[in-house]
Subunit: 198 residues, 2 copies
DNA sequence: ACCTGAACACCGTTCAAGT
DNA sequence: ACCTGAACACCGTTCAAGT
């Protein structure tokens, strides 16, 4: 019989799961295609135990990704309390870039793992919730064009994920985000018409 | 002795190489992680012949990528003859999106293959040449902000490569490119000052 | 109920033998 | 000079046997 879905794990199983996640985060950040067997070994569990917790590489990687991303996403609310909406939006994107660069290996691991099967549409992630929060706050003060969706914003900063962290990524990211912010401000109710009057 | 670098291939070897590329393009477009052994088999060559031509998966994928991308990149000059610079730029980005969606499998194959080793900085690709051409044409008529680099443009449209082709990608791509164009126009000499006057 | 680790399947890569 | 295909190494996944 399989495990009851809502029942708590036995304490040793719980510990095993946490150790796997801990080791996997470190290993995958260093090397996106670290062997799962190596992760299991370093976590001190057998192959079978690993697969009981995570049926495949994608399941492991997505769990780590969601956990890490949630931390950044959650900072959006905090930024909105400290800064005007447009500056909060920009500051949040800066944090996303910073996060992406330190976790570049993890981002590669995600792409490696998720390109295999079907494309997992994340739909309602913490990130899109955060984006929604920031966009609506800006809408309220008229600092950006109306009608922007979280999807729009995520696509607009998509270039961040194809930068290598080794380079002089900071000025490049800054130039990208400056461009995005200018695009967002174009057509804002508070800015007096479109950037190119007709 | 290895092969002389500039000497032409023997005709049968030449044919083999072309058949491998032909089969690989079709297979990788369908399935980004198609086994190299399957590609060799369908191309009618032995494993060794395959590896003589392409020492690893990355070498194969990059060659295909460059070949396919060159076609799109080369259309930039043609567009500039038919349209004003800003419309040519936008039309080129549309083509890039169209191309990316039909070749989504290939794009995944590239990520799969290149995330393994070091990050291969393509540096001077046909795409960055085309971007340079389009940006400078726009600079000359003052339709976009000055100083944009090909790298800036490539990053700005980076979101295209993280869209799934299954969806209603067309309106999403259009919204992204509209935003990018507005960002580019903000601060253009011909548009009368920045989008947000201080 | 959970764990271990050997066993199996599969794919990338090499290489001895052929033409 | 180029080709073939068997052989090897490695990693993901399963499963019989243990606690």
């Amino acid at each position: 019989m399989q495990h009851d879905k809502d029942a708590p794990l036995r304490s040793d199983a719980q510990r095993n799961r946490e150790r796997i996640l801990e080791v996997a985060l470190a290993e995958l950040t260093l090397c996106p295609d670290a062997p799962l067997s190596a992760i299991a070994r370093k976590a001190g569990v057998g192959q079978g135990t690993f697969y009981r917790n995570f049926p495949n590489r994608e399941a492991l990687v997505l769990e780590i990704y969601r956990h890490e991303m949630r931390q950044v996403a959650d900072s959006a609310a905090q930024l909105l309390e400290q800064l005007p909406p447009d500056r909060a939006l920009r500051a949040w994107m800066d944090r996303l870039a910073e996060f992406g660069m330190t976790k570049a290996g993890l981002a590669d691991a995600i792409r490696l793992a998720t390109s295999k099967g079907g494309l997992t549409k994340p739909a309602h992630t913490p990130v899109s919730d955060a984006a929604e929060l920031l966009l609506r706050a800006n809408d309220r003060v008229g600092s950006i064009r109306p009608g922007m969706t979280p999807d729009d914003l995520v696509l607009a900063i998509g270039g961040l994920w194809q930068m290598a962290p080794t380079d002089d990524w900071r000025p490049r990211a800054a130039r990208l985000l400056d461009l995005v912010m200018d695009g967002l401000r174009a057509g804002a109710p508070g800015a007096g018409g479109p950037a190119v009057p007709s």
